[in-house]
Symmetry: C2
Subunit: 172 residues, 2 copies
DNA sequence: TTCAATGTATCTATCAGTAGATAGTTATAT
DNA sequence: ATATAACTATCTACTGATAGATACATTGAA
């Protein structure tokens, strides 16, 4: 893992626990073993780091989701696959969805970060809509909103109560 | 409105837009017209302010909800009343639910704030469970979790996309 | 093949601004 | 007189950011 990748990972952990202001250049630099000034070499500003973080998070998420048609061809329900990915994000990492937390604090974010958060949800809704179409739902775009809302909300409440059984109950 | 009330209001606006770190004693003092040091007279520490803020927010929320039995006696659906209160919080104030945002960044909060956020959701789930019982639902506690998850999630996504029509769609 | 030029990744040192917090003082109102 | 609610002044710690230096690797031309 390059230093740049390590910086993004360190920042991701902190943001997913406490939001955009929950990490500083000094903190992540210390964790990685360089000086805070050197972080600016990789990311000119904090907003640049935040935007790249959200962008890569989105890409990794969609890549993990895979293709709706492939899932169907495999006799799986894409909505179950989607739910499972959220479940892993919470249960394995014990952390919020990066873009969920950032989205909630949208108005305090730098523009370029806000844009990447929007991209996350636009792409998620598009994927879910396609999934609901493939499932033969009558109102796929409506169903897509319900799906992602329920998952993000259940995640938030599980974190707030520090009890993952709420997420499990909401998604069973 | 006393200075103390004004300080809480100023802090609430900022927290609901960007989370716990999105306000400083200096900022809210300026808005209210006193010095930042004087804020410590009303709230010894920032954590005290945050905890009192969440506590009063919870009380106001529950008070606005009213009594489940009264709502039923009035031939209204308590779940509709609950949904409407969330809708107003988003559409009228154009802001997130205070405890939703704080809950998402739970792990980075001072203990006493975390406790108040937990209280918000515990009381909300209890109210919703009672409401679903009154509606004759077979699994009231399960339904309560689904209800609050969907609303918090829809709120979060509407903020992330800066488009309230997502919330409307999710709650129609 | 050598050597100058360039690029990469880091460093030290420093800056102005802001954070929450404290001590001690003052004005006002009961 | 006492309690309330503000003040001034100051502290330490931390914020993101910048300038300028260093070491090292890569590259391209004479």
């Amino acid at each position: 893992m390059t230093k740049k990748e390590a910086l993004l990972k360190a920042a991701e952990d902190k943001v997913r626990l406490g939001g955009y202001n929950n990490f500083s250049f000094r903190e992540i630099a210390n964790e990685v073993g360089i000086k805070s000034a050197s972080v600016h070499y990789h990311f000119p500003t904090k907003a640049d780091l935040g935007a790249e973080l959200a962008h890569q998070y989105t890409n990794a998420f969609l890549s993990a989701l895979g293709d709706v048609d492939d899932i169907k061809a495999n006799n799986q329900n894409p909505i179950d696959v989607y739910t499972q990915l959220f479940r892993n994000a919470l249960l394995t990492d014990n952390k919020m969805c990066l873009c969920g937390l950032l989205g909630a604090q949208n108005e305090s974010l730098p523009d370029k970060v806000r844009l990447e958060v929007k991209r996350f949800f636009d792409l998620n809704l598009a994927w879910l809509e396609q999934a609901h179409v493939a499932n033969g739902e009558s109102e796929p775009s409506h169903a897509a909103i319900l799906t992602v809302s329920l998952l993000e909300g259940a995640m938030m409440i599980s974190k707030a109560l520090n009890d993952h059984s709420y997420f499990k109950l909401a998604t069973k």
